[in-house]
Symmetry: C2
Subunit: 731 residues, 2 copies
């Protein structure tokens, strides 16, 4: 078709053209290629700063170039302490030196690459040499310390031992230090990550007795990225903090250990027996301590900086080149990383190859498409964060959306992200085939919601046009895009059937394991490439940006109701507890052989003025409906690349940005999104409307009132923006 006609064709006809390109695209990704990428990238350990990390970056760069992309490596330079000394020894009641070592598994060919492996450790632990009694703190969450307090057990001066799971690992030493602990060991309990769940590696997929979960423990909920350069890119000439002024290092030394190493420590503990929800699957009785287990723990690190190699590939937009659609996955691993990040990174690469192939067939994206392979994700989203901070202004001006992936699996397509993209990702999911059932991935996810949902969720899954997507917390590279720069983001994954917990962040996350226990024929890697690539094409080629605010407003309404319910529950619980204290209930039910302290009465949470939030949510709902109606009416008359379309998109591009506030969240200004943030005490798990929600949870009611107004203002800004588009569309 002629260029003139193309320019003149309606946005509706253009949409059909998009669909035909993305159908063509979906035929290209090849599972065999994905397997080859994983094999190549996971052939050797490739953590940040390692030779093979750089080698992979250069290989990825070469691949992008081979596929016709304009690619380069952007380099940053970030703090990355690596272990110098690691000693943990039980000194009472009996001597025992922990191995702190993952042994070679003979059937697993890469598990023995000892010279290139980093030993097991937690990144951004401070140096320390401490001795103290052990206290078992369950998952090490704030509520676990409430349980300790009811029993009059203090961790002051103690080394806590926490089990992995139910919070991001960095939360565990943070909360331990808040309570006065001097050290923190984190172990993988076989109930959460071991034989309780399935046979252990190499017979089965779960963590064996000596497997250790490495991982970062920086205070990511304060800010992610290079600890030395908050808010700015860690370029060579960036102004850096002194290490002593860094807020995101731990306050106490931390080390991860295996359950074989943990068992003697836990078995020797005395003190009261822990409650049922605290008990794991080791064949012992779990006690709180403190002691008689005493431990000496010494860790020290090389406090060096490491180079970050972010591979950035561009395909210039033909029509709206200043509007950027961004896709990324990290390429660095803790060790070999076949699953994390290989499973996601390989899909990204296969998309890049397929888009290159599509371009050879004549496709030109209307918008600029940027593909990224991030480095240093494992340490704390270093590569993506430094890139976002370095390009913050550009991103706020140009970024349409960011699509992330990371480790992915087999089963159900379960996207999460910005709710303005909910409709788009649902539409794509309706067009992609599930490898196992040959249903669409949308249909299979719907079936799962029907099967496992509450009555309300079943009904939702059956009757709502779009399946709801979850909000994003943290734990992968979308965080800076969404929560710092206000770029609408999606995180795309398959999963539900095979847990990869068993080798997560261990030397056994490798090609041998992957091809034995996970997406063994790479069919789901291909499906991920199809889903993500199609989403990219639709974002790149739709004339009017395919954002849907009715879904978003609907979700915002549910958040307002949740917050009201949260406060109500808190009030009811406080009232009830106070009443029970008055009635003497706690004293009456006390077992003198296992005494619990009577909790203190507290002032019942006040009523809060939710009206600003209710009004703003309603305004957004109305504005979203008006926008949808106006856009649908206008669409047949809107010519591609017309001034009208450009004007609409210029505003739509800024819609999610209205939800950010430059002052950021209370106590953590790096986080600027008013709807989504990782919880200050959860780490991975999202807190929606975090300023309000966490203020209520922390019982800071004056702050909650202030935050209600700030969130309301953000929603009003977005509603006003949408209304201004709707007005401009009216004849």
């Amino acid at each position: 078709m002629s260029a003139i006609f193309a320019l003149a064709m309606s946005t509706l006809a253009a949409q059909q053209a998009v669909q035909s390109w993305d159908a063509k695209f979906r035929a290209i990704p090849d599972a065999g290629n994905i397997g080859e990428y994983i094999k190549r990238m996971s052939a050797r350990p490739h953590h940040l700063g390692s030779p093979y990390d750089k080698d992979n970056a250069e290989w990825i760069l070469a691949k992008f170039e081979q596929w016709g992309w304009d690619a380069r490596i952007e380099t940053f330079d970030a703090l990355f302490p690596t272990p110098k000394e690691r000693v943990v020894e039980m000194i009472a009641p009996a001597p025992f030196t922990l191995k702190l070592e993952e042994p070679v598994v003979s059937v697993d060919p890469t598990s023995g690459q000892k010279t290139e492996q980093l030993p097991s450790f937690n990144a951004y632990s401070v140096d320390g040499d401490v001795t103290g009694p052990i206290v078992y703190v369950n998952y090490g969450r704030p509520q676990d310390y409430e349980d300790l307090e009811r029993r009059g057990i203090s961790v002051r001066g103690a080394i806590v031992i926490a089990r992995y799971g139910n919070s991001w690992r960095g939360i565990k030493p943070k909360v331990a230090a808040e309570h006065g602990a001097v050290g923190c060991l984190i172990y993988s309990d076989p109930m959460d990550d071991g034989y309780f769940n399935d046979d252990i590696f190499p017979e089965g997929p779960t963590r064996n007795g000596t497997g250790v979960q490495r991982g970062s423990v920086m205070d990511m909920p304060t800010y992610p990225g290079d600890p030395l350069t908050p808010n700015v890119g860690a370029t060579a000439d960036a102004k850096r903090l002194d290490i002593k002024d860094v807020a995101t290092l731990t306050k106490i030394p931390v080390l991860p250990i295996s359950y074989t190493d943990a068992q003697p420590l836990l078995a020797a503990l005395k003190g009261p027996v822990v409650p049922e929800s605290w008990r794991g699957s080791l064949p012992i009785t779990y006690h709180f301590g403190p002691g008689p287990t005493r431990v000496h723990m010494k860790v020290s690190f090389n406090w060096n900086r490491a180079p970050i190699y972010d591979v950035i590939a561009r395909m210039q937009g033909s029509t709206y080149p200043d509007e950027w659609v961004i896709r990324g996955n990290h390429h660095d691993a803790w060790v070999n990383g076949a699953q994390d990040p290989g499973s996601g990174m390989s899909a990204v690469l296969e998309e890049a190859r397929a888009l290159g192939e599509l371009a050879r067939q004549g496709w030109r994206p209307k918008r600029t498409v940027i593909y990224a392979a991030w480095d240093g994700e494992e340490q704390g989203l270093l590569g993506s964060t430094e890139w976002v901070e370095a390009h913050d202004k550009d991103l706020r001006e140009h970024a349409v959306a960011y699509l992330n992936s990371d480790g992915t699996g087999r089963g159900f397509f379960n996207p999460s992200g910005s709710h303005a993209l909910e409709n788009l990702v649902n539409d794509v999911a309706r067009d992609v085939e599930d490898p196992e059932t040959k249903l669409t991935v949308w249909k299979r996810q719907q079936a799962r919601r029907i099967a496992n949902g509450t009555r309300e969720e079943k009904n939702d899954a059956r009757t709502r046009a779009d399946l709801r997507i979850a909000a994003l917390g943290s734990g992968s590279d979308y965080s800076s895009f969404l929560q710092h720069a206000g770029v609408p983001s999606l995180d795309l994954r398959f999963g539900g059937f095979d847990s990869s917990d068993g080798i997560y962040h261990s030397v056994y996350d490798d090609y041998y394991y992957y091809t034995k226990f996970l997406d063994t024929d790479f069919a789901y890697g291909r499906a991920l490439a199809q889903v993500a690539g199609s989403t990219i094409i639709r974002l790149a080629d739709a004339d009017v940006l395919p954002f849907e605010y009715a879904d978003q407003a609907d979700t915002v309404q549910t958040y307002v109701k949740e917050l009201q319910a949260l406060l109500k529950t808190q009030q009811d619980d406080m009232r009830e507890r106070n009443r029970e204290i008055d009635e003497g209930v706690f004293a009456a039910i006390n077992d003198p052989r296992r005494p619990l302290q009577v909790p203190k009465k507290e002032t019942v949470a006040p009523a809060l003025n939710f009206a600003p939030l209710e009004n703003a949510a309603e305004a957004l709902t109305q504005a979203a409906a008006r926008y949808r109606k106006a856009a649908d009416t206008a669409r047949p008359k809107l010519a591609s690349n017309s001034a009208a379309v450009r004007a609409i998109n210029a505003k739509l591009l800024q819609a999610e940005r209205q939800l950010t506030d430059d002052a950021g969240l209370p106590k953590r200004p790096w986080y600027r999104h008013m709807l989504y943030a990782p919880g200050f005490y959860t780490g991975y798990a999202v807190k929606t409307m975090p300023g309000v929600r966490e203020a209520i949870e922390q019982k800071e009611y004056a702050a909650a009132e202030t935050e209600i107004v700030r969130v309301a203002k953000a929603l009003e800004r977005e509603a006003a923006l949408l209304d201004s588009i709707s007005s401009s569309l009216q004849p």
Copy 2:
């Protein structure tokens, strides 16, 4: 006071006199005595048929006589097979012979009385010599077999291994045999009964690796008592069934084992990994099987009869001698039995001593009081059942109430039983002091309900005059009284703090354990004696029997609502499942690596006519209210021992009997109570309105309609009886 005046005094004044006697009574029980009784009775193994069982019976007899009771031993003669051969050996994948032996624990002086101990076994298992693959069946309940069926796993020809708990042990081989298994092993998983819960014996109170739970596996939900003599007392000349015609023996050989013996069998199993709710605390991955574990199991028994020594003590009533108030606890144990039955039996003895003492101080019960120490409870309630069957006609004529106890513990007073006695037992609980808190035992139980209850239960505990009591299923000697003879019954226990699971039915349930881990100072034994003795005195001395039907009617109304909700839930679930089958949900969510079969569609449960039950419950509610009003109005005018009082009591005595039906429950006519029975597939746990409830559960809807009418008729009979009393009381 003169006899003339006593006869003429009002029932109200008489009540005050009762209260003063029972206050005097409560000062008498002595904790030290209780400890001595436990020590004496548990000094040697004393199972049914053993020398020390007889010795204890004779000692108890002597005690009753010493305390002024008219006592004797009633003897029956019941089938009691004891082990001749017990062999279990794993023959694949590796040979392993199970120990089947509880070792001597050196600190525990009676654990080594080997010559008098019965080895670990399950009574009323048939003989058998079987070999087959092992299948793990979780708790061995019907729903567990549904889980197996979804995975296409059959137990036909296999030996099942079930864990103890969550159903009465006799259910496990029964359901296994229904599904075609050829043998059944039952083991104690450390999650339910071992180190998961607390330190193991002798360091702590939970079951150690070699501890075994003995116990009966007769089909007690069909009928308890001597298998050879259903419905009649097993006297010397009773007509006996041939063993081959007995319905209550198991269909397949059964043996209980320790978790040390079970672990190699379970660890070697393959097949799919079991779902989370099936997993225990052994340090292994639990698989279903079948195989490769294969086991050879051989058991045979000495099919002999054993003498039952029921010790029966009477104190003749002064005023209403033909009205009997009965109290009992068993004296036989599986081995030494300090907790079971010593803790309860010793309280009964101390009550008997205290009542004797009270008689010496001048008290004479108005009604005849009968104290019983039953034999052969452990085999299947033999002693109490044979006595009830032997005296069925007399009991139906004379029995006012039966108060049972058995193993008891420390903590909360938690009575259960006939709801006509709910008010009485609440009143007593308001007068007895809790040893630990010095609150009344009523107040402490109320606090517990407030602390642990749902919103509705909290409100109930705070506002309802009486704390609700639970209905009785089975598992102790009340069963025949209540469910066969229709005698209003209570089961009285303290508990909630210390689990005695760890030594339940093992050689370690002895004085050493008891005084280290349970009611170590016997204070709760004393409290039980106070509660039970006071209840006995009030039942014996109240002129108008202290039954309260408003409580009962209130509870009956809740049962009707529960049944309606049960049916509604069943209909909703069936409709939803059928819909999901039609939608293809099960196929869509299937994991091809762990396939589940799609369930079959089924006809949705029909609506049932609950009107007869609703009307009857309403009639009972009205009649109960009328009776209460009439009785309260009449009370000041009713003279003790007057013809009017005698006429009222004659009817009240028959009130609970109206709830029985001579035709009994469907498929198990021995059970005649229309409100209470042990579940056919639960064994211990009660099914209220069992005919209706189990018909709905088993999807036998025509039977449910029939049973609704039968239950309604029973309630109507009772309502009519109460109305006839109310009419007679009107001026």
